[in-house]
Amino acid sequence: MKPVMARPFVLPDLGEGLTEAEIRQVLVREGDVVREDAPLLEVETDKATVEIPSPMGGRIEKIHVQPGQTVKVGQVLVSFGDGTSPGTPPADPLESSRRPSPVPATPSTRRLARELGVDLRAVDGSGPGGRVTDDDVRATAATPVTTSPAGEPTPTSLTAGKPLATAGIAPPLPRFEQWGPVERQPLSHLRRTIAERMTLSATLIPHVTHFDRADITELDALIRRNLDAGQTRGVTLTLTSFILKAVARTLGEHPHFNASLDPAAGELIVKRYVHLGVAVAAERGLIVPVIRDVDRMPLLELQRELGALATRVREGKATLEDLRGGTFTVTNIGALGGTGAIPIINYPEVAILGVARGREEPVVREGAIVPRLLLPLSLTFDHRVADGADGARFASAIIRRLEHPDELLLGL
């Protein structure tokens, strides 16, 4: 019999720290012949539902995943045949769960790997005969995942009831049942991710927050004056786009806020592009889509892109490209009220700008009390990268731009 040249197609790198996705739908069947770019599967990541297109034209030899299954980056999704080989019958799930060659490691090491969320297949064993040791597992756990083992499928189960990656840090919980009835609710995929990433950021980054207020009376008037003009061009002007513009310009002058710290290398990675994340409260939870090259984008275009992106996110149609590559995040909590909040930095970024609700307040100007529209801002940043004075200067520069919208529009 002719050897079957099965070409595996693995879950591609999803970027932005996303390491897994849940299969929502399989859009092809074994034996189907598909074109390049034809949709193969629909997967839900922590942030969006996306279609995975076929990387090549060919015949689907085998589908290795099923709806509801969580797959990791690098795990085989489908195999392509050479178009002439007979199909393989679908494997019995019990048979397929039998591992032909287990990774050599003691049971206690394997348990440690599970506790630390390390895939043993990705670990090079340093012990006798290639045995994976506890130290190997700990070293892998401490290194950010850059590559995943391709080839072998890694069947992982549904997310409900799975401990968070950060669970090892927490002391055990008391038995709440002793004080009254409780219900255990599994976390949604998105909730888990938010929980894990917030814990990561809050425990890893020494946060410091700087508060200030911007007088946006003029900016608000400018927006109101031009609302109709904007509408005729199909966009609704909002404060957010001006804030994004002001932040983008200011990041150009303060590049160390547009960066990521590489503690292992002892280096600051300064990004020569300005892609801003905007926190959006979707029904399923907090999602941060990214607008690219905000510094180079005309304001109307930025406003249009912002509107379209928010709509895609709320409808669950954001693509992976929409969700990765951010360099700095703006979170506007104004719609829900409040006088200010201290957001947590969107790891591995360096800073995040929180914007609360603008209010008319009495302000003393040239000896007289006048009503002015004041916008509370909070800049939270990584104290390893910047000091309080840097943060104050950065925030002041943003405020200056918001208070002089003409300069902002002229690109000054």
Binding site: G68, D92, P93, L94, S97, P100, S101, P102, P104, A105, T106, P107, R110, R111, R114, E115, G117, G127, P128, G129, G130, R131, P155, S157, L158, A160, G161, K162, P163, A167, R175, E177, R184, P186
Partner: protein, 459 residues
Amino acid sequence: MGDLVREVDVAVVGGGPGGYSAAFRCAELGLEAVIVDTAQRLGGACLFDGCIPSKALLHVAAVLAEADRAKDFGVDFGAPRISLDPLRTWKSERVVGKLARGLAAVARGKSVEVVGGRAVFEDSRRLRVEGEEPQTIRFGHAIVATGSAPSPLPGVDLRSERVMDSTAALQVPEIPARLLVIGGGYIGLELGQVYAALGSEVTLVEMLDGLLPGADRDLVQHLARRCDRMFKAVRLSTRVTGLRDTGRVIEARLGEGETATFDRVLVAVGRRPQTAGLGLETTRARLTDRGFVATDERGRTADPHVWAVGDVTGEPMLAHRAMRQGKVAAEAIAGRPAAFDNVVVPAVVFTDPEVAWCGLTEREAETAGRVVKIARLQWAASGRAATLGRSDGLTKLVADAETGRVLGVGIVGPGAGELIAEGAVAVETALLAEDVALTIHAHPTLSETLMEAAETLLR
């Protein structure tokens, strides 16, 4: 009047080793667990109809064989006289009963309640218990541990007292003069030897061309030789195509047309999972093509609230696999990162001589095209075996050709079931043959054969 409704964290269906291990571990982890068992007792087929009573009877057989061998060194006990009533009482009371009382005490100590009745799923969160204590149990999670039951002989439908399954044979209703054993797997071999030792003339029939299909042939060889001496006949590649009860005896048709007469028949052609009437279809759990409950490596089915452990989840149907699965499922339910990632599930056949193996067999390595080194040590070279008068043994290691890692161990000989534990540790912990060879093993013991076999791989 409304039914009794109760709420628990975990409801376990079935009180066998898988079920009670899961419930006990749940209790240790602070979860309230109840076990629903049709007989309202803990132990399951293992304790009442399987492992334990068969080993009790095999011990009797071993004592008889040992007494007989003693003639070789000048000790003659004379012909044994066997009284069935005391034998049954010893097995049921002193062995099974004692262990059952022990398990019940453990359950009480851990506050695990055992409810009598048949449990039927009503949906993914509720079980209806039918029986003397009808009630509804609302659970956070349910663990299906309903086990397996002996398979009937395909194509032969005869209900007769003279045709026994393993459960009936373990009651030892009599010592039949002529016994037909259908099936050359571990159950047929173990019970065939029990009855042969008690005085029955045993004919064993196996459909395939060898005994113990899963084991390597060189291990089976010593057992086959012993069976040839103990049994009247061992018929391989032979099918039983018909059984007829004449009222006094059973007429069996073997293969094409040959007929033979027996006083009793033992059908030991395997076991099948028990899922019928469970109401699993009201949950999202599903069965495999072969009728097992499909689970992931933690024991969870496609239904997030329904789990399954033990024989009902697949091969090998062994109590020790079920016990580990039960603990894994309990830990996973409690939110721990547990998984059934075990490399070895040791298999032991408690015959004379015992056959035991774990990990990769030589035959599996061949089938998988895996390059391995094999070490064989015949017990003729063992001092301890000589002192026991038993050179009918073999210890073998299957090691990775490149790294020397121990991938599998097979042992035949008296005590193989105990000796295999070292092999299980070696394979499970990924030891190298060198590690086994360089560990001092006490002299003179049978365990030395593992060290000596490993040494042959170092040259």
